[in-house]
């Protein structure tokens, strides 16, 4: 119950920042990938610059979290599926001009073609899941607690 509330709050905060930064606009992503403006690169880099040292420190201190036990980061070495997945993701990202979180915010903002993009993302995830028949080696990323993807 508490966990669900945490999910809702962090999801809303994340979606809110995506929206406030206009990451749900095709033009923002396209301008970044065209090197017309570097704001999104800076945004991603600064989020890492803030979180990386803090997480490092918190893990070293062995902080206990209220809902998830001792704080532990997950790291893994690159395997073939990481490179391949990244390559395909990048091509799709550039064509659709959106990725999973911004696609949802597109819908919030009244952009109707998100009704094409969001089902597309679900179809893509499902295709991969069917292909691996639930035996996919879950990457680290955010999928670490899922058995099948």
């Amino acid at each position: 119950m508490k966990f669900n509330l945490v999910g809702l709050i962090f999801g809303a905060a994340f979606g809110g920042i995506v929206a406030a930064s206009n990451l749900h606009e095709y033009d923002t992503i396209h301008a970044m990938l065209r090197f017309d403006e570097f704001d999104v690169f800076f945004l991603m880099a600064s989020s890492i610059a803030v979180s990386l040292p803090l997480l490092w420190l918190l893990e070293r201190r062995g902080v206990n979290t209220p809902l998830g036990g001792r704080l532990a980061l997950s790291r893994s070495m690159p395997e073939k599926h990481h490179w391949q997945g990244g390559v395909l993701f990048g091509v799709g990202w550039a064509i659709a001009g959106t990725c999973p979180a911004p696609a949802l915010v597109m819908l919030s903002s009244g952009a109707l073609l998100s009704l094409v993009a969001i089902p597309g993302i679900f179809v893509g995830l499902r295709l991969r899941e069917r292909q691996t028949a639930g035996s996919l080696v879950a990457g680290d990323g955010e999928h670490r607690e899922t058995v099948s993807v």
């Binding site: 669900n4 999801g11 989020s47 597309g120 990323g141």
Partner: protein, 159 residues
């Protein structure tokens, strides 16, 4: 509704806030943040698959409502539109729809294969100093930039 937020939040606010959200989710729940995982769990819930991680479904719902809060409440309120005006200036709708669908399917497939997307690997995974996340991020950045360049060439610079 209220016109309280600027048209665009500067990256030097948005980036660090996203960074603090990543740290915050670890501090509260020891969990990595990411959007494609939320899609996976939401699909699992709809298909009533066993072992669905419910809080990630709430995260999915939250992202939508966070977007509503900003675009419709804190700003003046966005209108119904396509969201792809730039593409529609170059291609007819009959081509843009399959293009967006194909792109989205490809990125969904790629995210499942890589185990994460722009948020899960690009920011959260890299922040955990995971070499795999760095590899995923490097490869999607490279192909996204290359694909954009090809699109630009094919459209004679219109896109």
């Amino acid at each position: 509704m209220f016109d309280l937020l600027p048209e665009r939040l500067e990256w030097y606010y948005g980036g660090p806030i996203l960074g603090l959200l990543i740290v915050g989710l670890f501090v509260v729940a020891n969990q990595p943040l990411g959007a494609s995982g939320a899609y996976v769990q939401t699909a699992g819930l709809i298909r009533r698959r066993e072992g669905t991680v419910t809080w990630r479904v709430w995260y999915f719902v939250g992202m939508f409502f966070g977007g509503v809060l900003v675009t419709q409440v804190l700003r003046e309120g966005a209108e119904i539109r396509s969201g792809y005006d730039s593409l529609l200036n170059v291609f007819p709708l009959a081509l843009v729809i399959p293009m967006v669908f194909a792109g989205a399917t490809l990125l969904g497939y790629g995210a499942a294969m890589a185990g994460g997307c722009t948020s899960g690997h690009g920011m959260c995974g890299t922040a955990q100093r995971s070499p795999a996340s760095a590899a995923v991020t490097a490869s999607f950045m490279a192909t996204a930039i290359a694909t954009t360049f090809v699109l630009r060439l094919l459209t004679g610079g219109d896109l």
